[in-house]
């Protein structure tokens, strides 16, 4: 548990990550992901509770440093020294570890060879982020911590980073990452824990979590202004193939098992009532829908 002044940032959570696994901490901003990961990294002391990393506990002095030798850490919003070149930054980080990749090796890992002599200040956001990950990888870590590694990056840079993470895992590395992109978690992680208000509200493989919705598809619709859907909810809940109904400010969201049965039934019902649709979309259920189902809020804009 961790309190900041009078705010409880992280309130009692239990999770374990197995060797070779990629584990994702998922949640909106302010959910306590960063606090959690920094407690695990030994950067923030917890007010209570136990952390065990690679069979060790955080201690000051030599044992703590011995543990750090085996970890690779990328922090959210670290800005590396602008005036140094890429290879100088890596040489610096490399010098902190007894065992490490050479600068060339780690440049190859993150595909920044061409930028070797470029100053940090001239790098793009994606390149800076790859350099930050390179600083984490330079120590040949057994366990890699990544705090929102792709936040704010364009899709191409994001895919490049995913590829780096996949390669690290292919060599047997363990990854713990935080993200608020559900898509990222679904693609990269073996298991995820969804956090909200400092608590873990669901944990499991992405497939399990989606399956917990009890349905494969989500149908979102909204009615034209003036129409109300309030009395529809009850009828919709009885409808064949619908497993859950939620109304929100933007319209109504249905989780459905059999789209081919539910959709015609919905349209029939609306026609019967004489109300018109202003929006209708369907998609495969994602972790986003899991979050909405658990909290009643959207993940991204909370």
């Amino acid at each position: 548990m961790k309190r900041f002044a009078d705010v409880v940032a992280v309130a009692g959570l239990d999770l374990s990550v197995g060797a070779g696994e990629c584990f994702g901490l998922l949640g909106p901003n302010g959910a306590g992901k960063t606090t959690t990961i920094e407690i695990l990294e030994g950067l923030t002391p917890p007010d209570s509770g136990d952390v065990e990393i690679l069979g060790m506990r955080w201690q000051d002095g030599a044992p703590g440093r011995a543990l750090r030798e085996r970890l690779g850490i990328q922090l959210q919003e670290t800005q590396l020294a602008d005036k140094l070149t890429v290879s100088e930054v890596l040489a610096l980080f490399r010098s902190f570890y007894r065992q490490s990749h050479t600068v060339d090796e780690v440049l190859a890992l993150v595909e920044l060879e061409e930028k070797r002599h470029a100053r940090v200040v001239t790098l793009s956001g994606g390149q800076k982020q790859r350099l930050a990950v390179a600083c984490a990888l330079v120590s040949k870590p057994e366990l890699l911590f990544l705090d929102e590694p792709t936040t704010g990056l364009d899709p191409q840079s994001r895919r490049q980073l995913w590829e780096i993470i996949r390669r690290f895992r292919a060599d047997g590395g363990t990854v713990l990452l935080t993200t608020h992109y559900m898509e990222e978690a679904e693609r990269l992680c073996d298991r995820v824990a969804i956090m909200d208000h400092g608590k873990i509200i669901a944990q499991g493989t992405p497939k399990e979590l989606i399956a917990s919705l009890g349905a494969d598809h989500v149908v979102d619709f909204a009615l034209t202004e003036g129409s109300t859907a309030d009395d529809l909810v009850e009828i919709l809940q009885q409808m064949g193939g619908v497993s859950a109904v939620r109304t929100g400010p933007d319209g109504v969201s249905l989780t459905v098992v059999e789209l081919h049965r539910a959709l015609p039934a919905l349209l029939g019902l609306l026609k019967e009532r004489g109300v018109e649709l202003s929006l209708l979309t369907t998609h495969h259920a994602t972790l986003d829908d899991v979050f909405v189902a658990l909290t009643g809020r959207q993940l991204r804009d909370t």
Binding site: L43, T78, K83, S95
Partner: protein, 338 residues
């Protein structure tokens, strides 16, 4: 630690502005002050003579003295020039000669003595005692000789506090300190890397300023260069420690700038950089002497001007070392690593 110190140096020399303020600025300052206060032999004294009957005779008499430059002026102009310091004394000839001058100005007092001497002799005063001038040029007595060691001290203070303070706070603000904490890096290595990189810059700073003083103004180092090197190293360590202390808690550049000024400004004024601290009231002197910059300046001057041996400088050097050691220990204790 070598890599840390190396990074520190690279970050520094790639910042052209910082390089100027540390190396260029003191030299520019020394140049300007050296020019302004250069010794041109015994100074010529500008003297005004009131226009009117007999003015040209007085001017002719005064012109006999090599130190006086007499000019005929009307009263209004003379008043203005007297006020702005362009003449030292205004002479109004007549049956009784009137000297108008500001008695608080040293050169006015000199001018009065000289003018009076010349005029009295011209009227037939006889010297009763025979005198002979025995002129001595005291080594290192010029203002620039006094100034260069002071600037050296000030520069060591400035670059120690700025160089260390800004880097630390910037690293803290950019969460770089936290990132370093996430590696097995030893904390003491981080702090020591500042002192190590300071040592390298120190050589450049000292050589630049002392070399400049020597080349342009012939400011010699009378003591041994080893003593000078030893003292500057101690001073530089001490101020790096002070810089770490100043930067140990501050979270923003603005915050640390304020603190730096708070630390440095009083020392610039009090510690005898530009003028001797003996001008301050006696009651203040013990406090002034306890400041690290005062102690360093005293030691530097003792070596550069008087050619003193390091062994005679125990007290000031102890003060310098004590400041540095105490600051470093406190900094290490209270340092905010995140």
């Amino acid at each position: 630690m070598y890599q840390l110190a190396l990074s520190r140096m690279r970050e520094f020399y790639r910042e052209p502005e910082a390089v100027f303020w540390v190396f260029g600025f003191p030299i520019v300052l020394a140049f300007a002050l050296g020019l302004a206060f250069r010794n041109t032999g015994p100074g010529k004294l500008q003297v005004g003579v009131a226009s009117g009957p007999g003015d040209s005779a007085v001017v002719a008499t005064l012109a006999l003295s090599p130190r006086l430059v007499p000019t005929v002026l009307d009263t209004a102009t003379a008043r203005l020039r007297l006020r702005t310091g362009r003449i030292a004394l205004f002479v109004i000839p007549g049956d009784s000669v009137v000297y108008r001058y500001d008695s608080t100005r040293t050169e006015s007092g000199l001018a009065r003595l000289e003018v009076d001497d010349v005029l009295q002799r011209a009227r037939g005063r006889k010297d009763l005692v025979r005198v002979r001038d025995d002129r001595v040029v005291a080594p290192g007595s010029r203002y620039i000789d006094f100034l260069i060691p002071g600037l050296l001290g000030m520069n060591l203070l400035g670059s120690g506090i700025w160089g260390v303070g800004f880097s630390v706070v910037q690293a803290r603000q950019r969460k770089l300190l936290k990132r370093y904490m996430a590696t097995p890096m030893r904390r003491s290595h981080y702090l020591l890397s500042f002192i190590l990189s300071r040592l390298v810059f120190l050589i450049v700073e000292v050589v630049a300023l002392v070399g400049f003083g020597w080349l342009l103004f012939g400011v010699a180092v009378r003591g041994s260069f080893t003593s000078l090197a030893g003292i500057t190293v101690l001073g530089s360590f001490s101020f790096a420690g002070l810089g770490l202390l100043v930067a140990s808690r501050a979270k923003t550049i603005e915050g640390v700038s304020g603190l730096m000024n708070l630390v440095m400004l009083p020392m610039w004024i009090l510690s005898g950089t530009f003028f001797s601290y003996s001008r301050f009231p006696d009651a203040m002197i013990p406090f002034v002497k306890a400041l690290p910059l005062t102690a360093l300046n005293d030691a530097l001057r003792a070596v550069m001007i008087d050619g003193a041996a390091v062994t005679t400088l125990g007290t000031p050097l102890a003060i310098v070392v004590a400041w540095g050691a105490v600051s470093f220990v406190i900094a290490l204790k209270i340092f905010r690593w995140r």
